[in-house]
């Protein structure tokens, strides 16, 4: 990680960057997000296969630096979130410095070391191991054990009857405790007032009842339609283990199938929602 530290030091020393959003390791060898403000902090920066967190979430959460730009350490897949935020006027490309990391896959369960089983599915189909749109590219690409996509969970799930799907989600959503960890962990959930916090009118019941949970999870998935960049942080953050990525991946498929669109690929790409095509399908409209 020498290179990462050197670059970060230089950026902080020259005040090109006010701070750098990166990863560090604590004394229990947990890899966790870390904000480096000083060159001493920079010494603590690291990157490894447990650097699963999508740090783009901090771009809209942290106060802007007094001086200099925001430096951010990012995997290729995380950069999609950064580009997405640019597409949605949340940040300007010129206000950030992206230190892109060549990525050799990250873990699913952060408490266990990386192995074939404990790896994110997105990694086995990753096209961005070498990041795009980065100011720097750090680290070396190495072969890594990919989890086999033995089965297409999405397809399997859709094979179920509507009845069975309803039962499935009823059971899952019943668990939801409305802690909103999914929202807070999501780099694209940057609203200053989430619709569930709007009480006049209360479109979505704030009570964690199954009904309110249905509304919350459906509308959240809808608001992320054509916007989710598939980092899976929502699912990882969920304390009651609701398989949220199923919903988001389904919406991602729709965006791909119907509109051949993926969010966060190019900064100047017109967003999916907010634009239209006169030939959008309407076979479902009477």
């Amino acid at each position: 990680m020498k290179q990462l530290i050197e670059i970060s030091k230089e950026l902080l020393e020259s005040r090109k960057a006010g701070y750098i959003i990166g990863y560090t390791e604590d004394k229990f060898h947990r890899t966790k997000p870390f904000i480096a403000h000083t060159t001493n902090d920079a010494e603590k920066l690291t990157f490894n296969q447990k650097a699963v967190h999508n740090l783009a979430v901090y771009l809209t959460r942290l106060p802007k630096p007094k001086e200099g730009k925001i430096g951010i350490v990012a995997k290729g897949c995380d950069i999609k979130a950064i580009i997405g935020l640019i597409q949605e006027n949340q940040i300007k490309r010129d206000d950030i410095i992206i230190i892109g990391m060549n990525c050799n896959g990250v873990v699913k369960d952060i408490n266990i070391d990386y192995n074939k089983e404990n790896s994110q599915m997105k990694c086995s189909i990753c096209e961005l191991r070498t990041p795009k749109h980065a100011n720097y590219i750090v680290g070396a690409l190495e072969d890594f054990a990919k989890s086999e996509l033995t089965k297409n969970i999405l397809a399997e799930f859709e094979a179920l009857s509507a009845e069975e799907r309803w039962k499935f989600w009823e059971k899952e959503f019943e668990k939801c405790i409305k802690c909103y960890a999914c929202r807070q962990a999501c780099p694209l959930c940057y609203c200053e007032q989430c619709i569930v916090e709007k009480s006049m009118p209360q479109w979505i019941d704030s009570s964690p009842t199954t009904k309110g949970n249905f509304a919350w999870n459906i509308i959240r998935a809808f608001h992320l339609s054509g916007r989710c960049i598939g980092c899976n942080e929502c699912e990882r953050a969920c304390p009651v283990n609701i398989p949220l990525s199923l919903l988001n991946r389904k919406m991602g498929m729709v965006a791909m199938k119907e509109f051949n669109y993926r969010h966060g690929i190019e900064p100047d790409q017109p967003t999916l929602i907010g634009n239209y095509n006169t030939s959008d399908k309407e076979d479902f409209i009477m």
Binding site: E163, W166, K167, W203, I204
Partner: protein, 152 residues
Amino acid sequence: MEEEKFEPKITAFVCNWCTYTGADLAGTSRLKQQTNARLIRVPCTGRIDPVFIIKAFEKGADGVLVSGCHPGDCHYNTGNFHARRRWIFFKQLLDFVGIDSTRLYFSWVSASEGKKWVDVVNNVINSVRAKGPFLGYKNLNKETELPLVNKN
């Protein structure tokens, strides 16, 4: 309660310029239709937010109908194009979570299509009546409902 024949409750969100006016035309032409639909007038289908539909189901709708101007006829030029794009996502999302999305209907009815409006409304009412009450959502309500004993 169970004895009496089931009459579906239908909420219809319609745009002011095409469908609402088309429904007016159905009226002036005295075209008869069933009484189950309740219209909510909005300026444009572009104004219709999927949370309306979710909320309607929560509040006991057995079916929801959304209707507006034909593509290209939108009084506001593009409102219905943006709406249509949202619906493509929303309908498939409901399907995915197992909400019977066949209880959610979409149609284009212009100001001149009074007849079409009547047919659409009757179709929706008939097919929802055939499906029966939307138990899926109604059961969710039990959690938060006033215990029946004190209901009346």
